[in-house]
Symmetry: C2
Subunit: 321 residues, 2 copies
Protein backbone atom coordinates (compact mmCIF):
# COMPACT_ATOMS: atom_id res chain seq x y z
CA UNK A 1 0.00 0.00 0.00
CA UNK A 2 1.33 3.42 -0.95
CA UNK A 3 2.34 5.37 2.13
CA UNK A 4 1.22 8.97 2.28
CA UNK A 5 3.77 11.69 3.04
CA UNK A 6 3.40 12.97 6.59
CA UNK A 7 1.46 16.23 6.79
CA UNK A 8 3.86 19.12 6.23
CA UNK A 9 3.95 21.86 8.80
CA UNK A 10 5.14 24.64 6.50
CA UNK A 11 3.40 26.30 3.62
CA UNK A 12 4.11 24.09 0.59
CA UNK A 13 3.58 24.61 -3.14
CA UNK A 14 0.23 22.99 -3.99
CA UNK A 15 0.15 21.61 -7.53
CA UNK A 16 -2.93 22.63 -9.49
CA UNK A 17 -3.65 18.96 -10.13
CA UNK A 18 -4.03 18.29 -6.40
CA UNK A 19 -7.66 17.31 -6.09
CA UNK A 20 -7.76 16.74 -2.38
CA UNK A 21 -9.82 18.88 -0.12
CA UNK A 22 -8.29 18.91 3.32
CA UNK A 23 -6.18 21.76 4.65
CA UNK A 24 -2.63 20.73 5.40
CA UNK A 25 -0.99 23.94 6.67
CA UNK A 26 -0.72 24.89 10.32
CA UNK A 27 -4.07 26.35 11.15
CA UNK A 28 -4.93 29.11 13.54
CA UNK A 29 -8.46 30.23 14.21
CA UNK A 30 -9.47 33.77 15.05
CA UNK A 31 -12.84 34.93 16.35
CA UNK A 32 -12.97 38.75 16.14
CA UNK A 33 -15.97 40.27 17.88
CA UNK A 34 -16.98 43.57 16.31
CA UNK A 35 -19.40 46.16 17.73
CA UNK A 36 -21.88 46.16 14.88
CA UNK A 37 -24.90 43.87 14.79
CA UNK A 38 -27.57 45.97 13.10
CA UNK A 39 -26.33 47.69 9.92
CA UNK A 40 -26.17 44.95 7.28
CA UNK A 41 -24.04 47.01 4.90
CA UNK A 42 -21.32 47.46 7.51
CA UNK A 43 -21.50 43.78 8.46
CA UNK A 44 -21.07 42.85 4.79
CA UNK A 45 -18.05 45.16 4.43
CA UNK A 46 -16.49 43.49 7.46
CA UNK A 47 -17.08 40.00 6.07
CA UNK A 48 -15.87 41.16 2.67
CA UNK A 49 -12.59 42.38 4.13
CA UNK A 50 -11.89 38.88 5.43
CA UNK A 51 -12.98 37.12 2.25
CA UNK A 52 -10.77 39.38 0.15
CA UNK A 53 -7.67 38.32 2.11
CA UNK A 54 -5.78 35.48 0.36
CA UNK A 55 -5.20 32.52 2.66
CA UNK A 56 -7.88 33.50 5.16
CA UNK A 57 -11.18 31.60 5.27
CA UNK A 58 -14.35 32.98 6.75
CA UNK A 59 -15.81 29.87 8.41
CA UNK A 60 -18.76 31.43 10.12
CA UNK A 61 -20.39 34.71 11.02
CA UNK A 62 -23.28 35.64 13.24
CA UNK A 63 -24.81 38.95 14.23
CA UNK A 64 -26.99 39.79 17.16
CA UNK A 65 -29.09 42.96 16.90
CA UNK A 66 -29.89 43.01 20.65
CA UNK A 67 -26.20 42.73 21.50
CA UNK A 68 -25.39 45.03 18.53
CA UNK A 69 -22.40 42.79 17.92
CA UNK A 70 -21.09 40.42 15.25
CA UNK A 71 -18.80 37.45 15.67
CA UNK A 72 -16.68 36.25 12.75
CA UNK A 73 -14.80 32.94 12.71
CA UNK A 74 -11.68 32.89 10.52
CA UNK A 75 -9.07 30.25 9.90
CA UNK A 76 -5.74 30.30 8.14
CA UNK A 77 -2.01 30.56 8.60
CA UNK A 78 -0.53 33.30 10.79
CA UNK A 79 0.38 35.73 8.01
CA UNK A 80 -3.02 35.51 6.31
CA UNK A 81 -4.84 36.03 9.59
CA UNK A 82 -2.73 39.08 10.37
CA UNK A 83 -3.69 40.57 7.02
CA UNK A 84 -7.37 39.69 7.53
CA UNK A 85 -7.56 41.25 10.99
CA UNK A 86 -5.83 44.41 9.80
CA UNK A 87 -8.35 44.62 6.93
CA UNK A 88 -11.19 44.10 9.42
CA UNK A 89 -9.85 46.90 11.62
CA UNK A 90 -9.70 49.23 8.62
CA UNK A 91 -13.43 48.78 7.98
CA UNK A 92 -14.45 48.86 11.65
CA UNK A 93 -12.47 51.99 12.52
CA UNK A 94 -13.93 53.72 9.47
CA UNK A 95 -17.57 52.64 9.90
CA UNK A 96 -18.26 52.25 13.64
CA UNK A 97 -18.60 55.16 16.07
CA UNK A 98 -18.92 53.95 19.64
CA UNK A 99 -20.18 57.33 20.74
CA UNK A 100 -23.40 56.37 18.86
CA UNK A 101 -23.28 52.66 19.82
CA UNK A 102 -25.84 51.00 22.11
CA UNK A 103 -26.32 47.27 22.74
CA UNK A 104 -26.89 44.55 25.36
CA UNK A 105 -23.32 43.23 25.21
CA UNK A 106 -20.46 44.98 27.02
CA UNK A 107 -17.85 46.53 24.62
CA UNK A 108 -14.74 48.63 24.79
CA UNK A 109 -13.87 48.91 21.09
CA UNK A 110 -15.18 48.97 17.53
CA UNK A 111 -13.14 45.81 17.15
CA UNK A 112 -13.81 44.71 20.69
CA UNK A 113 -11.88 41.47 21.15
CA UNK A 114 -9.69 39.34 18.86
CA UNK A 115 -8.64 35.92 20.19
CA UNK A 116 -6.29 33.59 18.31
CA UNK A 117 -6.77 29.87 18.88
CA UNK A 118 -4.39 27.05 17.89
CA UNK A 119 -5.97 24.38 15.68
CA UNK A 120 -4.05 21.91 13.48
CA UNK A 121 -0.29 22.02 13.72
CA UNK A 122 -0.16 25.41 15.48
CA UNK A 123 0.86 25.92 19.11
CA UNK A 124 -0.28 28.32 21.79
CA UNK A 125 3.12 29.98 21.49
CA UNK A 126 2.42 30.61 17.79
CA UNK A 127 -0.88 32.25 18.73
CA UNK A 128 0.66 34.38 21.49
CA UNK A 129 3.31 35.61 19.07
CA UNK A 130 0.64 36.39 16.47
CA UNK A 131 -1.48 38.27 19.01
CA UNK A 132 1.48 40.46 19.95
CA UNK A 133 2.40 41.12 16.33
CA UNK A 134 -1.16 42.02 15.34
CA UNK A 135 -1.56 44.13 18.47
CA UNK A 136 1.49 46.18 17.61
CA UNK A 137 0.46 46.63 13.97
CA UNK A 138 -3.13 47.77 14.57
CA UNK A 139 -2.12 50.08 17.42
CA UNK A 140 0.40 51.78 15.18
CA UNK A 141 -1.71 51.92 12.03
CA UNK A 142 -5.07 52.92 13.51
CA UNK A 143 -3.96 54.68 16.73
CA UNK A 144 -6.07 52.33 18.82
CA UNK A 145 -4.85 51.35 22.30
CA UNK A 146 -4.44 47.55 22.59
CA UNK A 147 -4.56 45.32 25.66
CA UNK A 148 -3.20 41.78 25.41
CA UNK A 149 -5.31 39.18 27.24
CA UNK A 150 -5.50 35.50 28.27
CA UNK A 151 -2.39 33.55 27.24
CA UNK A 152 -0.86 36.66 25.64
CA UNK A 153 -1.37 38.88 28.70
CA UNK A 154 1.65 40.87 29.87
CA UNK A 155 0.38 40.73 33.46
CA UNK A 156 -1.64 38.06 35.33
CA UNK A 157 -4.01 40.80 36.54
CA UNK A 158 -4.83 41.57 32.90
CA UNK A 159 -5.59 38.06 31.64
CA UNK A 160 -9.35 38.21 32.07
CA UNK A 161 -11.41 39.94 29.40
CA UNK A 162 -14.10 41.01 31.85
CA UNK A 163 -11.52 42.83 34.02
CA UNK A 164 -10.07 44.67 31.03
CA UNK A 165 -13.48 45.59 29.63
CA UNK A 166 -15.00 46.73 32.92
CA UNK A 167 -16.24 50.31 32.58
CA UNK A 168 -16.62 49.74 28.83
CA UNK A 169 -15.96 52.41 26.20
CA UNK A 170 -17.51 55.14 28.29
CA UNK A 171 -14.94 54.82 31.10
CA UNK A 172 -11.97 54.10 28.84
CA UNK A 173 -10.17 57.44 29.18
CA UNK A 174 -10.09 57.03 32.94
CA UNK A 175 -8.96 53.41 32.76
CA UNK A 176 -6.15 54.11 30.28
CA UNK A 177 -4.78 56.79 32.58
CA UNK A 178 -4.94 54.74 35.77
CA UNK A 179 -2.00 52.82 37.31
CA UNK A 180 -1.66 49.25 36.11
CA UNK A 181 -3.74 49.90 33.00
CA UNK A 182 -1.21 51.31 30.55
CA UNK A 183 -2.07 49.60 27.26
CA UNK A 184 0.36 47.05 25.82
CA UNK A 185 0.48 48.94 22.52
CA UNK A 186 -0.72 52.30 21.20
CA UNK A 187 -1.73 55.60 22.77
CA UNK A 188 -2.73 56.13 26.40
CA UNK A 189 -5.94 57.84 25.32
CA UNK A 190 -8.88 56.16 23.60
CA UNK A 191 -9.41 56.34 19.86
CA UNK A 192 -12.30 58.83 19.86
CA UNK A 193 -14.70 56.61 17.90
CA UNK A 194 -13.07 53.17 17.95
CA UNK A 195 -12.15 52.93 21.64
CA UNK A 196 -9.59 50.26 22.48
CA UNK A 197 -9.13 46.63 21.42
CA UNK A 198 -8.36 43.46 23.38
CA UNK A 199 -6.20 40.94 21.53
CA UNK A 200 -4.88 37.59 22.74
CA UNK A 201 -4.58 33.83 22.53
CA UNK A 202 -6.62 31.11 24.18
CA UNK A 203 -7.90 27.57 23.84
CA UNK A 204 -11.09 27.01 21.85
CA UNK A 205 -14.18 27.93 23.79
CA UNK A 206 -17.74 26.85 23.31
CA UNK A 207 -20.53 29.42 23.37
CA UNK A 208 -23.29 27.35 25.00
CA UNK A 209 -26.75 28.47 26.07
CA UNK A 210 -29.35 26.53 28.00
CA UNK A 211 -32.96 27.70 27.72
CA UNK A 212 -35.11 26.99 30.73
CA UNK A 213 -38.81 26.19 30.57
CA UNK A 214 -39.69 29.33 32.49
CA UNK A 215 -39.86 33.09 32.05
CA UNK A 216 -38.30 33.70 35.47
CA UNK A 217 -35.05 35.56 34.85
CA UNK A 218 -34.13 35.28 38.53
CA UNK A 219 -33.93 31.50 38.19
CA UNK A 220 -31.51 31.80 35.26
CA UNK A 221 -29.40 34.32 37.18
CA UNK A 222 -29.23 32.09 40.25
CA UNK A 223 -28.24 29.08 38.19
CA UNK A 224 -25.62 31.15 36.35
CA UNK A 225 -24.17 32.25 39.70
CA UNK A 226 -24.08 28.63 40.88
CA UNK A 227 -22.38 27.29 37.81
CA UNK A 228 -19.78 29.92 36.95
CA UNK A 229 -16.30 29.80 38.35
CA UNK A 230 -16.18 33.37 39.60
CA UNK A 231 -18.94 32.83 42.18
CA UNK A 232 -18.04 29.27 43.25
CA UNK A 233 -18.94 27.02 40.35
CA UNK A 234 -16.95 24.98 37.88
CA UNK A 235 -13.52 26.11 36.90
CA UNK A 236 -13.82 26.75 33.18
CA UNK A 237 -17.31 28.20 33.03
CA UNK A 238 -18.40 31.81 32.55
CA UNK A 239 -22.14 32.30 32.80
CA UNK A 240 -24.87 34.90 33.04
CA UNK A 241 -28.65 34.79 33.17
CA UNK A 242 -30.49 36.56 30.38
CA UNK A 243 -34.09 36.95 29.28
CA UNK A 244 -35.07 36.08 25.70
CA UNK A 245 -37.81 38.66 25.30
CA UNK A 246 -39.02 37.38 21.94
CA UNK A 247 -39.68 33.91 23.37
CA UNK A 248 -40.41 34.85 26.97
CA UNK A 249 -37.78 32.40 28.20
CA UNK A 250 -34.98 32.58 30.72
CA UNK A 251 -31.55 31.52 29.48
CA UNK A 252 -28.29 30.56 31.10
CA UNK A 253 -25.76 31.95 28.63
CA UNK A 254 -22.27 30.50 28.97
CA UNK A 255 -18.74 30.36 27.64
CA UNK A 256 -17.04 27.03 28.30
CA UNK A 257 -13.40 27.99 28.25
CA UNK A 258 -11.82 24.56 28.48
CA UNK A 259 -14.20 21.87 27.27
CA UNK A 260 -11.62 19.17 27.88
CA UNK A 261 -11.40 19.89 31.59
CA UNK A 262 -14.92 21.20 32.24
CA UNK A 263 -16.93 19.26 29.67
CA UNK A 264 -20.28 20.23 28.13
CA UNK A 265 -22.18 17.28 29.57
CA UNK A 266 -21.11 18.01 33.15
CA UNK A 267 -22.25 21.62 32.79
CA UNK A 268 -25.55 20.49 31.27
CA UNK A 269 -26.22 18.05 34.09
CA UNK A 270 -25.44 20.63 36.73
CA UNK A 271 -27.70 23.27 35.20
CA UNK A 272 -30.46 20.68 34.87
CA UNK A 273 -30.16 19.70 38.52
CA UNK A 274 -30.05 23.31 39.70
CA UNK A 275 -33.15 24.08 37.65
CA UNK A 276 -35.03 21.25 39.37
CA UNK A 277 -34.58 23.05 42.67
CA UNK A 278 -36.84 25.76 41.25
CA UNK A 279 -39.32 23.33 39.70
CA UNK A 280 -37.98 24.23 36.28
CA UNK A 281 -36.96 21.92 33.42
CA UNK A 282 -34.37 22.41 30.72
CA UNK A 283 -36.28 23.23 27.55
CA UNK A 284 -33.35 22.98 25.13
CA UNK A 285 -29.74 23.96 24.67
CA UNK A 286 -27.86 25.57 21.81
CA UNK A 287 -24.31 25.95 20.61
CA UNK A 288 -23.51 29.33 19.06
CA UNK A 289 -20.95 29.21 16.28
CA UNK A 290 -18.48 26.38 15.91
CA UNK A 291 -17.71 23.53 18.28
CA UNK A 292 -14.82 21.06 18.21
CA UNK A 293 -16.05 17.56 17.35
CA UNK A 294 -14.38 16.18 20.47
CA UNK A 295 -16.71 18.13 22.75
CA UNK A 296 -19.73 16.33 21.32
CA UNK A 297 -17.94 12.99 21.09
CA UNK A 298 -17.07 13.15 24.79
CA UNK A 299 -20.71 13.91 25.57
CA UNK A 300 -21.91 10.91 23.57
CA UNK A 301 -19.34 8.73 25.34
CA UNK A 302 -20.53 9.95 28.72
CA UNK A 303 -24.21 9.31 28.21
CA UNK A 304 -23.74 6.00 26.37
CA UNK A 305 -21.22 4.89 29.02
CA UNK A 306 -18.86 4.06 26.15
CA UNK A 307 -15.79 2.18 27.25
CA UNK A 308 -12.47 2.02 25.40
CA UNK A 309 -13.73 4.32 22.68
CA UNK A 310 -11.15 6.05 20.52
CA UNK A 311 -11.65 8.86 18.01
CA UNK A 312 -9.76 6.54 15.65
CA UNK A 313 -13.01 4.55 15.48
CA UNK A 314 -14.83 7.42 13.80
CA UNK A 315 -15.20 6.40 10.15
CA UNK A 316 -14.77 9.86 8.63
CA UNK A 317 -11.65 10.50 10.66
CA UNK A 318 -10.20 7.14 9.68
CA UNK A 319 -10.81 7.82 6.00
CA UNK A 320 -9.14 11.21 6.28
CA UNK A 321 -6.08 9.92 8.10
Amino acid sequence: MKRRAAPVKRKAAVPDECLCYKIFMPIIESIPNVSEGRRRDVIERLAGAVRATPGARLLDQSSDPSHNRSVFTLAGDADSLEAAIVALFAVAVDAIDLRQHQGEHPRVGAVDVVPFVPIEGATMADCVALAKRVGAVVAERFHVPVYLYEEAASDPARRNLEDIRRGEFEALATKLASPGWTPDFGPTSPHPSAGASVIGARMPLIAYNINLNTDRLDVAKKIAAAIRHSSGGMRFVKAMGVKLEDRNLAQVSMNLTNYEKTPVFRVFEMVKREAERYGVAVLESEIVGLVPAAALMRSAEYYLQLQNFSDAQVLEKKLAD
Copy 2:
Protein backbone atom coordinates in the same frame (compact mmCIF):
# COMPACT_ATOMS: atom_id res chain seq x y z
CA MET B 1 -9.47 32.92 -1.57
CA LYS B 2 -8.37 30.02 -3.78
CA ARG B 3 -11.28 27.72 -4.59
CA ARG B 4 -10.61 24.02 -4.22
CA ALA B 5 -11.40 21.67 -7.12
CA ALA B 6 -14.50 19.57 -6.44
CA PRO B 7 -13.71 16.02 -5.26
CA VAL B 8 -13.22 13.74 -8.27
CA LYS B 9 -15.24 10.56 -8.40
CA ARG B 10 -12.86 8.52 -10.55
CA LYS B 11 -9.39 7.26 -9.92
CA ALA B 12 -7.04 10.12 -10.88
CA ALA B 13 -3.26 10.31 -11.24
CA VAL B 14 -1.88 11.53 -7.91
CA PRO B 15 1.31 13.57 -8.28
CA ASP B 16 4.04 12.48 -5.90
CA GLU B 17 4.23 16.05 -4.62
CA CYS B 18 0.62 15.89 -3.43
CA LEU B 19 0.91 16.27 0.31
CA CYS B 20 -2.74 16.05 1.11
CA TYR B 21 -4.15 13.14 3.01
CA LYS B 22 -7.76 12.71 2.14
CA ILE B 23 -8.96 9.90 -0.13
CA PHE B 24 -10.57 11.09 -3.35
CA MET B 25 -11.42 7.83 -5.18
CA PRO B 26 -14.75 6.05 -4.97
CA ILE B 27 -14.60 4.25 -1.72
CA ILE B 28 -16.11 0.97 -0.68
CA GLU B 29 -15.77 -0.39 2.81
CA SER B 30 -15.59 -4.07 3.66
CA ILE B 31 -15.88 -5.61 7.11
CA PRO B 32 -14.83 -9.27 6.92
CA ASN B 33 -15.55 -11.24 10.10
CA VAL B 34 -13.12 -14.11 10.51
CA SER B 35 -13.41 -17.01 12.97
CA GLU B 36 -10.18 -16.44 14.84
CA GLY B 37 -9.95 -14.28 17.93
CA ARG B 38 -7.34 -16.01 20.05
CA ARG B 39 -4.20 -16.93 18.10
CA ARG B 40 -2.30 -13.67 17.65
CA ASP B 41 -0.05 -15.09 14.93
CA VAL B 42 -3.01 -16.03 12.76
CA ILE B 43 -4.66 -12.66 13.38
CA GLU B 44 -1.44 -10.93 12.31
CA ARG B 45 -1.24 -13.01 9.13
CA LEU B 46 -4.82 -12.03 8.30
CA ALA B 47 -4.10 -8.34 8.85
CA GLY B 48 -0.86 -8.65 6.93
CA ALA B 49 -2.68 -10.09 3.92
CA VAL B 50 -4.80 -6.95 3.74
CA ARG B 51 -1.93 -4.55 4.31
CA ALA B 52 0.09 -6.22 1.57
CA THR B 53 -2.65 -5.52 -0.99
CA PRO B 54 -1.98 -2.31 -2.98
CA GLY B 55 -4.92 0.10 -2.86
CA ALA B 56 -6.55 -1.51 0.17
CA ARG B 57 -6.36 0.22 3.54
CA LEU B 58 -6.80 -1.59 6.82
CA LEU B 59 -8.73 1.00 8.81
CA ASP B 60 -9.39 -1.02 11.92
CA GLN B 61 -9.20 -4.46 13.42
CA SER B 62 -10.52 -5.93 16.63
CA SER B 63 -10.46 -9.41 18.08
CA ASP B 64 -12.63 -10.94 20.75
CA PRO B 65 -11.26 -14.03 22.52
CA SER B 66 -14.65 -14.98 24.01
CA HIS B 67 -16.32 -14.76 20.60
CA ASN B 68 -13.16 -16.28 19.05
CA ARG B 69 -13.68 -13.90 16.18
CA SER B 70 -11.93 -10.93 14.55
CA VAL B 71 -13.43 -8.08 12.62
CA PHE B 72 -11.35 -6.20 10.05
CA THR B 73 -12.40 -2.93 8.45
CA LEU B 74 -11.00 -2.27 4.99
CA ALA B 75 -11.51 0.55 2.54
CA GLY B 76 -10.51 1.02 -1.07
CA ASP B 77 -11.69 0.76 -4.64
CA ALA B 78 -13.50 -2.36 -5.86
CA ASP B 79 -10.51 -4.08 -7.48
CA SER B 80 -8.23 -3.57 -4.49
CA LEU B 81 -10.87 -4.88 -2.11
CA GLU B 82 -11.40 -7.97 -4.24
CA ALA B 83 -7.68 -8.69 -4.06
CA ALA B 84 -7.59 -8.06 -0.31
CA ILE B 85 -10.52 -10.35 0.44
CA VAL B 86 -9.06 -13.13 -1.71
CA ALA B 87 -5.76 -12.75 0.19
CA LEU B 88 -7.66 -12.89 3.48
CA PHE B 89 -9.43 -16.07 2.41
CA ALA B 90 -6.11 -17.68 1.50
CA VAL B 91 -4.82 -17.19 5.06
CA ALA B 92 -8.09 -18.11 6.77
CA VAL B 93 -8.68 -21.30 4.78
CA ASP B 94 -5.08 -22.34 5.49
CA ALA B 95 -4.96 -21.49 9.20
CA ILE B 96 -8.46 -21.97 10.64
CA ASP B 97 -10.08 -25.35 11.23
CA LEU B 98 -13.67 -24.97 12.33
CA ARG B 99 -13.72 -28.56 13.55
CA GLN B 100 -11.48 -27.29 16.38
CA HIS B 101 -13.19 -23.89 16.71
CA GLN B 102 -15.17 -22.92 19.79
CA GLY B 103 -16.45 -19.46 20.58
CA GLU B 104 -19.43 -17.49 21.86
CA HIS B 105 -20.31 -16.03 18.47
CA PRO B 106 -22.26 -18.07 15.89
CA ARG B 107 -20.21 -18.91 12.77
CA VAL B 108 -20.59 -20.89 9.60
CA GLY B 109 -17.18 -20.27 8.02
CA ALA B 110 -13.52 -19.57 8.61
CA VAL B 111 -14.25 -16.35 6.76
CA ASP B 112 -17.72 -16.12 8.18
CA VAL B 113 -19.24 -13.01 6.62
CA VAL B 114 -17.99 -10.34 4.19
CA PRO B 115 -20.18 -7.31 3.68
CA PHE B 116 -19.41 -4.51 1.21
CA VAL B 117 -20.65 -1.05 2.12
CA PRO B 118 -20.81 2.01 -0.17
CA ILE B 119 -18.94 5.05 1.20
CA GLU B 120 -17.75 8.02 -0.90
CA GLY B 121 -18.75 8.00 -4.55
CA ALA B 122 -19.75 4.31 -4.64
CA THR B 123 -23.28 2.99 -4.98
CA MET B 124 -25.09 0.01 -3.54
CA ALA B 125 -25.17 -1.44 -7.06
CA ASP B 126 -21.35 -1.23 -7.16
CA CYS B 127 -21.22 -3.14 -3.88
CA VAL B 128 -23.70 -5.80 -5.00
CA ALA B 129 -21.68 -6.36 -8.17
CA LEU B 130 -18.49 -6.62 -6.13
CA ALA B 131 -20.06 -9.10 -3.70
CA LYS B 132 -21.09 -11.35 -6.58
CA ARG B 133 -17.69 -11.13 -8.23
CA VAL B 134 -15.82 -11.91 -5.00
CA GLY B 135 -18.27 -14.70 -4.15
CA ALA B 136 -17.65 -16.41 -7.45
CA VAL B 137 -13.86 -16.05 -7.19
CA VAL B 138 -13.44 -17.38 -3.64
CA ALA B 139 -15.88 -20.25 -4.23
CA GLU B 140 -13.89 -21.33 -7.25
CA ARG B 141 -10.42 -20.83 -5.82
CA PHE B 142 -10.93 -22.22 -2.32
CA HIS B 143 -13.84 -24.64 -2.90
CA VAL B 144 -15.91 -22.86 -0.27
CA PRO B 145 -19.70 -22.65 -0.71
CA VAL B 146 -20.86 -19.02 -0.81
CA TYR B 147 -24.25 -17.55 0.07
CA LEU B 148 -25.05 -14.00 -1.04
CA TYR B 149 -26.92 -11.95 1.58
CA GLU B 150 -28.65 -8.62 2.25
CA GLU B 151 -28.75 -6.38 -0.84
CA ALA B 152 -26.87 -9.01 -2.90
CA ALA B 153 -29.20 -11.88 -1.97
CA SER B 154 -30.51 -13.98 -4.83
CA ASP B 155 -33.70 -14.69 -2.87
CA PRO B 156 -35.61 -12.59 -0.33
CA ALA B 157 -35.71 -15.60 2.01
CA ARG B 158 -31.90 -15.56 2.04
CA ARG B 159 -31.31 -11.88 2.81
CA ASN B 160 -30.90 -12.26 6.53
CA LEU B 161 -27.54 -13.41 7.88
CA GLU B 162 -29.07 -15.12 10.90
CA ASP B 163 -31.29 -17.28 8.68
CA ILE B 164 -28.33 -18.33 6.52
CA ARG B 165 -26.10 -19.01 9.52
CA ARG B 166 -28.67 -20.91 11.57
CA GLY B 167 -27.32 -24.34 12.47
CA GLU B 168 -23.81 -22.95 12.16
CA PHE B 169 -20.85 -24.92 10.81
CA GLU B 170 -21.93 -28.09 12.55
CA ALA B 171 -25.22 -28.35 10.61
CA LEU B 172 -23.84 -27.04 7.32
CA ALA B 173 -23.81 -30.32 5.40
CA THR B 174 -27.51 -30.78 6.09
CA LYS B 175 -28.35 -27.19 5.19
CA LEU B 176 -26.40 -27.23 1.93
CA ALA B 177 -28.31 -30.30 0.85
CA SER B 178 -31.77 -29.02 1.78
CA PRO B 179 -34.24 -27.42 -0.67
CA GLY B 180 -33.94 -23.65 -0.95
CA TRP B 181 -30.41 -23.65 0.41
CA THR B 182 -28.31 -24.39 -2.65
CA PRO B 183 -25.35 -22.02 -2.35
CA ASP B 184 -25.05 -19.14 -4.82
CA PHE B 185 -21.51 -20.23 -5.71
CA GLY B 186 -19.29 -23.21 -5.01
CA PRO B 187 -19.85 -26.82 -3.96
CA THR B 188 -23.01 -28.19 -2.30
CA SER B 189 -20.92 -29.69 0.48
CA PRO B 190 -19.04 -27.73 3.14
CA HIS B 191 -15.34 -27.09 2.92
CA PRO B 192 -14.19 -29.60 5.56
CA SER B 193 -12.32 -27.07 7.68
CA ALA B 194 -13.45 -23.68 6.36
CA GLY B 195 -17.19 -24.27 6.17
CA ALA B 196 -19.10 -21.78 4.02
CA SER B 197 -18.98 -18.00 3.62
CA VAL B 198 -21.68 -15.35 3.47
CA ILE B 199 -20.91 -12.39 1.18
CA GLY B 200 -23.05 -9.39 0.39
CA ALA B 201 -23.73 -5.66 0.37
CA ARG B 202 -25.47 -3.44 2.91
CA MET B 203 -25.64 0.00 4.48
CA PRO B 204 -23.17 0.83 7.30
CA LEU B 205 -24.06 -0.81 10.57
CA ILE B 206 -22.83 -0.24 14.08
CA ALA B 207 -21.57 -3.20 16.09
CA TYR B 208 -22.67 -2.15 19.57
CA ASN B 209 -22.43 -4.11 22.81
CA ILE B 210 -23.83 -3.24 26.20
CA ASN B 211 -22.25 -4.95 29.20
CA LEU B 212 -24.54 -5.45 32.16
CA ASN B 213 -23.43 -5.34 35.75
CA THR B 214 -24.36 -8.95 36.29
CA ASP B 215 -23.17 -12.45 35.43
CA ARG B 216 -26.73 -13.58 34.67
CA LEU B 217 -26.78 -14.60 31.03
CA ASP B 218 -30.53 -15.10 31.16
CA VAL B 219 -30.99 -11.38 31.81
CA ALA B 220 -28.94 -10.47 28.73
CA LYS B 221 -30.88 -12.98 26.62
CA LYS B 222 -34.24 -11.60 27.78
CA ILE B 223 -33.19 -8.04 27.06
CA ALA B 224 -31.87 -9.05 23.66
CA ALA B 225 -35.20 -10.69 22.87
CA ALA B 226 -37.01 -7.54 23.95
CA ILE B 227 -34.93 -5.17 21.91
CA ARG B 228 -34.38 -6.99 18.63
CA HIS B 229 -36.75 -6.61 15.71
CA SER B 230 -37.26 -10.30 15.08
CA SER B 231 -38.95 -10.92 18.42
CA GLY B 232 -40.90 -7.65 18.72
CA GLY B 233 -38.35 -4.94 19.38
CA MET B 234 -37.03 -2.00 17.38
CA ARG B 235 -36.94 -2.24 13.64
CA PHE B 236 -33.23 -1.95 12.86
CA VAL B 237 -31.79 -3.91 15.76
CA LYS B 238 -30.32 -7.41 15.82
CA ALA B 239 -29.36 -8.60 19.28
CA MET B 240 -28.28 -11.60 21.26
CA GLY B 241 -27.29 -12.24 24.86
CA VAL B 242 -23.79 -13.56 25.42
CA LYS B 243 -21.60 -14.32 28.42
CA LEU B 244 -18.13 -12.78 28.65
CA GLU B 245 -16.46 -15.62 30.51
CA ASP B 246 -13.18 -13.80 31.09
CA ARG B 247 -14.96 -10.98 32.89
CA ASN B 248 -17.94 -12.90 34.24
CA LEU B 249 -20.34 -10.42 32.70
CA ALA B 250 -23.51 -10.72 30.67
CA GLN B 251 -23.59 -8.75 27.42
CA VAL B 252 -26.27 -7.65 25.01
CA SER B 253 -24.46 -7.87 21.68
CA MET B 254 -26.08 -5.94 18.86
CA ASN B 255 -25.92 -4.85 15.27
CA LEU B 256 -27.67 -1.55 14.60
CA THR B 257 -28.50 -1.84 10.93
CA ASN B 258 -29.85 1.66 10.35
CA TYR B 259 -28.53 4.10 12.93
CA GLU B 260 -30.36 6.98 11.31
CA LYS B 261 -33.77 5.39 11.85
CA THR B 262 -33.09 3.37 15.00
CA PRO B 263 -30.47 5.50 16.75
CA VAL B 264 -27.86 4.35 19.26
CA PHE B 265 -29.20 6.45 22.12
CA ARG B 266 -32.71 5.05 21.82
CA VAL B 267 -31.36 1.50 21.92
CA PHE B 268 -29.17 2.34 24.93
CA GLU B 269 -32.06 3.84 26.86
CA MET B 270 -34.28 0.85 26.16
CA VAL B 271 -31.65 -1.68 27.23
CA LYS B 272 -31.00 0.35 30.38
CA ARG B 273 -34.70 0.41 31.23
CA GLU B 274 -35.14 -3.29 30.56
CA ALA B 275 -32.15 -4.07 32.76
CA GLU B 276 -33.73 -2.16 35.64
CA ARG B 277 -36.59 -4.62 35.62
CA TYR B 278 -34.07 -7.26 36.71
CA GLY B 279 -32.34 -5.02 39.23
CA VAL B 280 -29.38 -4.75 36.90
CA ALA B 281 -27.46 -1.66 35.81
CA VAL B 282 -25.62 -0.95 32.58
CA LEU B 283 -21.93 -1.28 33.38
CA GLU B 284 -20.61 0.10 30.10
CA SER B 285 -21.09 -0.05 26.36
CA GLU B 286 -18.67 -0.50 23.50
CA ILE B 287 -18.55 0.11 19.79
CA VAL B 288 -16.69 -2.57 17.87
CA GLY B 289 -14.88 -1.29 14.82
CA LEU B 290 -15.81 1.96 13.13
CA VAL B 291 -18.80 4.19 13.62
CA PRO B 292 -20.05 7.07 11.48
CA ALA B 293 -19.55 10.40 13.26
CA ALA B 294 -23.22 11.24 12.82
CA ALA B 295 -24.29 8.38 15.09
CA LEU B 296 -22.41 9.90 18.01
CA MET B 297 -23.35 13.46 17.12
CA ARG B 298 -27.04 12.53 17.17
CA SER B 299 -26.54 10.93 20.59
CA ALA B 300 -24.88 14.06 21.98
CA GLU B 301 -27.71 16.17 20.56
CA TYR B 302 -30.29 13.94 22.20
CA TYR B 303 -28.83 13.99 25.68
CA LEU B 304 -27.87 17.68 25.62
CA GLN B 305 -31.29 18.56 24.21
CA LEU B 306 -29.48 20.51 21.49
CA GLN B 307 -31.77 22.62 19.36
CA ASN B 308 -31.04 23.90 15.84
CA PHE B 309 -27.69 22.14 15.74
CA SER B 310 -26.11 21.56 12.36
CA ASP B 311 -23.09 19.42 11.49
CA ALA B 312 -21.85 22.56 9.74
CA GLN B 313 -21.09 23.87 13.24
CA VAL B 314 -18.48 21.18 13.80
CA LEU B 315 -15.12 22.92 13.51
CA GLU B 316 -13.22 20.06 11.88
CA LYS B 317 -15.92 19.60 9.26
CA LYS B 318 -15.91 23.32 8.53
CA LEU B 319 -12.15 23.27 8.06
CA ALA B 320 -12.38 20.29 5.71
CA ASP B 321 -15.11 21.77 3.54
